[in-house]
Symmetry: C4
Amino acid sequence: MTTSRLEAFSDGVFAIAATLLILNVDGAKGSLTAIWPQYAGYAVSFLTIGIIWVNHHTVMAQFDRVDRRFLFLNIVLLMCVAFVPFPTRLIAEHVRGDGLAGPALVYGATMTAMSVTYFALWTYGVRHLLRPDADERTIRGITRSYLPGSAVYLTSTLLAFVSPLASVAGYALIALFYVVESSVFGGRSPASTTSA
Amino acid sequence: MTTSRLEAFSDGVFAIAATLLILNVDGAKGSLTAIWPQYAGYAVSFLTIGIIWVNHHTVMAQFDRVDRRFLFLNIVLLMCVAFVPFPTRLIAEHVRGDGLAGPALVYGATMTAMSVTYFALWTYGVRHLLRPDADERTIRGITRSYLPGSAVYLTSTLLAFVSPLASVAGYALIALFYVVESSVFGGRSPASTTSA
Amino acid sequence: MTTSRLEAFSDGVFAIAATLLILNVDGAKGSLTAIWPQYAGYAVSFLTIGIIWVNHHTVMAQFDRVDRRFLFLNIVLLMCVAFVPFPTRLIAEHVRGDGLAGPALVYGATMTAMSVTYFALWTYGVRHLLRPDADERTIRGITRSYLPGSAVYLTSTLLAFVSPLASVAGYALIALFYVVESSVFGGRSPASTTSA
Amino acid sequence: MTTSRLEAFSDGVFAIAATLLILNVDGAKGSLTAIWPQYAGYAVSFLTIGIIWVNHHTVMAQFDRVDRRFLFLNIVLLMCVAFVPFPTRLIAEHVRGDGLAGPALVYGATMTAMSVTYFALWTYGVRHLLRPDADERTIRGITRSYLPGSAVYLTSTLLAFVSPLASVAGYALIALFYVVESSVFGGRSPASTTSA
């Protein structure tokens, strides 16, 4: 299998998972202004999946082939991505009432698992599947940028035991940070970090 | 990332958002003739997403690369497109009763946000990502054709404060206008305006 | 826009519409054997969309470009295809009780509209977009095979006024006929009729 | 039709069927820990569809064209794959109470039908559509690896008459076995077995 077929399948899952988020927005759950947490959840999770999609391409551009272990790591990654609509709906339903701790934990566990799988995928790929002409500095740059991801999400997840609301705010801030960081600071750089 | 990968992902979101509209058509909400607003909503929103899809390709054909800012503008655009099924269902449910003002406002706000993002995407692309051989007249033509979009949708949205029904009729007319304009008048011209 | 981009978008809608059919199969509506009409509806509509998909490629293989009128005819075709899950669910719900006439009419109207649009798309394409090297005999063969489609679906639709059950049986038979005709008789011929 | 168009359409159905599984995970059905069967069902079925997707590419890589019979066998295969979310939900709902026999049978019947269709597709393709340069040893290897599939699923299905719980455990073990076998033992081999 070529990396481009893997990307096409992954893009399909990214696109569907993001688009399915709209099924969580339900006018029957309150007035059109009262359901603002549903809008916020839609926006944060859509942006988060968008960011993962952008990064997935940056990563894949460093490899020129895939093996079966990589394929299955990628399927586990997609399994985490496709899971996102569920905790998103949970959080939107509970953000103003009781019982936010559980939803915040499930969302955080999903994102942490996703983050860890991503790092495993990247590390495995760098060791076994790197393009001969991959740029060492680019590789180190990506590794550096992925390292904090799991830690940040894990921290935000554990925060749910103390303050679920702070935990949820954390997830929104992480998404916002990545968008701003990517588009404002790294904005004019090429979409793929290959061409450093 | 090449423009063709961006288009493939965007096409996925367009196709899913349009196809999900059928979930809004629900026979349990009345007799098969009484639910005509659901059919109308399905048709108007499907055509609207179809038009956006056609235009997206016309726009992308002018660029030969994308950068990260462009990617995120495009994700915001897709976020608006994937949101369309929600206000479509709201309007279909309220078009014959009370409470149409809210749904009409949400639909219009979605379309206006989409229109503004589209224009931002186009303007940014023209400034930074234009193909060296892009035809100046084609560029000016596209710019001219996009300029009124946001204004027309904003007007139709604000109309909801006076007459929600007129506002909703406006959205249907805009979709109809684009289909007729594109297929009857510009019909025999090539699908991509590149080859002016 | 190239024909291959149009096909990719269309394939997306075909794949999603077919896969969404599973949402109509609902164990809460009766015992696992009592809901057999849901299984039958799933199978018939999945096969029908599969047949349309196969034919769509046969048709597109005759053209080497598309124009805006063709694009919009294609969007209308996809609008019919994506509508199929709705009347499929209606029929499954009413096939053993009263009120089958309405669902049978809606299903038939959808298929007839789809058939007519298909023929319009084909006729328009043959007149304006034909590949220079398209084989005249192949063209005539496709035209001949499409001519009865609308008539057969229209007949089965009108039958609903007399016997809704006979009408529904007709839809199943049409799907079965196409599968058998295509795979048993035309089976070993190349998938695309281009290479006659 | 080329094999790559067939793969693109099939990938679409695989991606959508897997992503739709999340709609089965429903927080309203119990506390976030009580619904663990829903999480397990999601994971097992997502991995199972992922395995089928990986194998589908391995199979398609041996052929360089398709005919109409192959197309329809493939549509039947996809019909089984897209059906998976339904019995998955049934099992998750009944795994801790009464009435697991029916769901276990439906799940098993779906997987057995899928397995048999897969083998028919493969056998037909080997007889009629093989690439001239296909490696005989690879072909025999794939045939050997597919032979037990249907039998194993059929056995697990029939087990439902004796112990539905054992049957369900069987399905999970089969998925686990394929993932471990593929990624741990065959892990470093190329993703496509073509390049044996």
